[in-house]
Amino acid sequence: MDAAATYLDLPIPDRANHLWRYTPWHRIHPTGKAAYLPTTLAPPVIHLTMLDGSEPPEGVTISASEAVDSVAPVDDIAAAFIRALTAGDSVTLSVAKGVRLKQPLLLQVEVEGDVCGIHFNHDIGPRSEVELITVFKGNAEWLGVLREGVIGEGAILNDIVVNRLGGGMMLRVDAIRIERDAQVKLGTVGAGGKRTKADLRYHMVGIGGSLEVKGSIMSEGEQHNDSHIEIMHDAPMTYSRLNWHSSCGGRSRTIGTGMLRIADGAKGSDANQLFHNLLLSPHAEADSIPELEVLENEVVGCGHGTANGPVDESQMFYLQSRGFSEVGARGLLIAAFLNSTLSDMGSDAVHDWLKDLLSGGLASLTS
């Protein structure tokens, strides 16, 4: 069965499934009609450079490729839709075994037009060390991104995705496999797009793997940001932390649903997830469903937490007593809230670069 037929054959997901509770499939589909499969795609413009603009070194390649082994489940409607859009073609970013990059890679994806779909395949070789920043920008009405990949044994990866789209919709699906002893940090910076649905799934399949997932989401205006993060501990002695910070201004809505699953036999797993929502406007809304499924009793620990609230009045008072204006104090506290996850996403160079990139967006939340 080809990719289009596979998608059309799938049932529309039930809203009883938390993944689709707040953003049902028809709301993130480009036309709202689930049975419709767009045939004309606007081609994305993809640039891969080092952060300073130089060419990537030997051992780092990006190339078009045909069908690759699927990490995302075949019955996942979002992944199936993007596969159908891209007709099974993908772009493979490959980092060879043992390559250690001295500065971050910058993958810029510019999208225009009505409907745009990209299928990335990240092949991060064993024992390599990579920082990768992926920036989506442009004014496409709809963008679908499927990122599949394997992080090889002992690899160290800082993978940061930045959404800087204009007013369009974005559907993002991550399906990443983390092999033995790999150390992975995955950061998501959300600052653009009118509606974003992210379904991020990480499978810890190798013993000793470590994963930190960070989110720093700025929502304002009428934005709708729905992020679902699943972390599967399938192997023993695996470690994961999820820390997701969302600031919600205007009439925006942010949603954080998570699933932390410890498989039977994943002894010594250590897992924790936290969702924090800072509510900045009387019309903003924040929803959280942090789920746990634990099938193994020999765990180091497994927990989750959420907290929602406004900017702390006592902190505001303190800063104003030290001479800050109300707007200044508020801006400082919001920046600190978002920075607490942003600063953990990568090296200092990456952090400074992200700070500069996002400083404009922050100003709109403080007023």
């Binding site: 938390h18 499924e293 765990v299 989750h304 907290a307």
Partner: protein, 476 residues
């Protein structure tokens, strides 16, 4: 006599039923028994048998059609839910010939059952009133004279409908309409028994009142309906206990409980559910709290094949407070899918949810909860804590909390943890002279302590003993 779960059980009865301590049964002595299966005629027959007013019959029939049309939930333990054979269940069974006010008039066999469970003893010592339901109907009911003289009404639900139809009509289905879910529709269609408790303005019921629900027959469905109304400034504490015999076939318990706390009132509803593990326990419980009132659900789920129960509180009036404290024990063949729901509709409302669960011998404990804060509810505070212990490799624990916050002034916190009993704790207690099992029982009792301290002392002592018995053989 061994004492378990708040009730006395003879040692021969315990031997007969294995680990479950209330699993014996008496020979069925039905005076009225409907054939298994559900139809509109069954619903009409139940209503006619009880001599109900027309409006109640109409609601029952509408609820029946809703139940038939409504699909089974697609969440939770769908496999177990879909295995319920509604055609094999008996929807009405009357034992004896009506509710007695004198314990000596209760038929001998039924009296023996409740004697074994310790009900009359408890009443004499520390209860304000008692209702005992056997199969579909209440067989014994009493209330202390001093409460009655203050205007407190404590009746079984059938008598409540007969004697106070205007109050029942006003509140029946007002908090949980039959359209709420498939099982509230089923209960509304075939309800029988349950409690009707009305506390007048300003009256404080100092001693708790208790209802005890017993399923005795095989393939039985018990559908009690409870309505508690606490008028302005009043307070009451209600305790219910449940048990059933162990059979190879399944029984269904599907209750609906509606609580109304008027301004400044206080209601505490305590459940000690100890069903045998052939019972499906699918219960809808919800209370509405008006200005400055408090509703507390204190909920212990120790048995059943599948429990799906999420006590809910609607904080409707400003300054209202809701609290749900629950414990669940999921042993072999059990799935405890329990939790809590709190809806903050008004400003300055506060809520607290504390959930504790233990999974053992392949059992599955799930917390499923929901907290919503509406747009107009300013300055609400929410605190949710879920802790779970998994005691062996075969068991599992899940947490599915949902939080929907539509007001920026709300402070909402949720935390959950899943862990095992640490070797360090066991080692420390053994170094102080305890055996491994004693050490485990102590740790488990400590884990449940925040719940147990909310119980009346008699229940707290017995629950500790019950958990100690359940922990026997957990190590080694």
């Amino acid at each position: 006599m061994a004492r378990t779960g708040g009730f006395s059980v003879s040692s021969d009865a315990r031997e007969a039923v294995g680990d479950y301590k209330a699993g014996w049964h008496d020979p069925e002595q039905a005076t009225v028994r409907f054939d298994a299966g559900l139809s509109e005629q069954v619903v009409r027959d139940i209503s006619e048998l009880k001599g109900e007013p027309e409006w109640m019959t109409d609601i029952r029939v509408k609820a029946y059609h809703h139940f038939m049309a409504r699909p089974m939930p697609t969440w939770g333990s769908t496999e177990l839910l879909n295995s319920i054979d509604f055609d094999k269940i008996c929807y009405f069974l009357r034992s004896g010939d009506g509710t007695k006010g004198d314990w000596d008039e209760v038929p001998e066999d039924i009296k023996n059952t409740f004697d074994r469970l310790g009900i009359p003893d408890a009443e004499k010592k520390w209860l304000g009133g008692v209702t005992a339901q056997y199969e579909s109907e209440t067989i014994y009911h009493s209330i202390r004279e001093d409460l009655e003289s203050q205007g407190v009404i404590f009746l079984d639900m059938d008598a409540g409908l007969r004697e106070y139809p205007e109050i029942v009509k006003k509140y029946f289905c007002s908090i949980i309409p039959y359209q709420d879910n498939k099982f509230s529709a089923l209960n509304t269609a075939v309800w029988s028994g349950g409690s009707f408790l009305y506390v007048p303005k300003g009256v404080h019921v100092e001693l708790p009142v208790q209802a005890y629900f017993r399923i005795n027959s095989e393939n039985m469905g018990q559908f009690e309906r409870t309505l508690i109304v606490a008028e302005e400034g009043s307070s009451v504490s209600y305790i219910e206990g449940c048990s059933a015999p162990t059979y190879s076939t399944d029984s269904l318990h599907s209750a609906v409980v509606e609580l109304i706390a008027m301004p400044g009132a206080y209601i505490r509803y305590t459940t000690i559910q100890n069903w045998s593990n052939n019972v499906y326990n699918l219960v809808t419980k919800r209370g509405v709290a008006h200005e400055n009132s408090t509703i507390e659900w204190v909920d212990a789920n120790v048995g059943s094949k599948l429990t799906m129960k999420y006590p809910a509180i609607i904080l409707k009036g400003e300054g209202a407070h809701g609290e749900v404290i629950s414990v669940a024990y999921a042993g072999e063949g059990m799935h405890q899918d329990a939790g809590a729901k709190v809806h903050h509709l008004a400003s300055n409302t506060t809520s607290k949810i504390l959930s504790k669960s233990i999974s053992k011998d392949g059992g599955r404990g799930s917390y499923r909860g929901m907290v919503t804060v509406s747009k107009k509810a300013d300055n609400c505070k929410v605190n949710v804590v879920c802790d779970a212990l998994i005691l062996d490799e075969k068991s599992r624990s899940d947490t599915y909390p949902t939080m929907e916050i539509k007001n920026s002034s709300c402070r909402c916190e949720h935390e959950a943890s899943v862990s095992k009993v640490s070797d360090d704790q066991i080692f420390y207690l053994m170094s102080r002279g305890h055996s491994e099992n004693e050490a485990l029982a102590l740790i488990v009792n400590g884990f449940f302590e925040p719940f147990v301290r909310e119980l009346p002392m008699e229940y707290a002592v017995e629950l500790n003993k019950l958990m100690a018995l359940e922990m026997e053989g957990s190590i080694g």
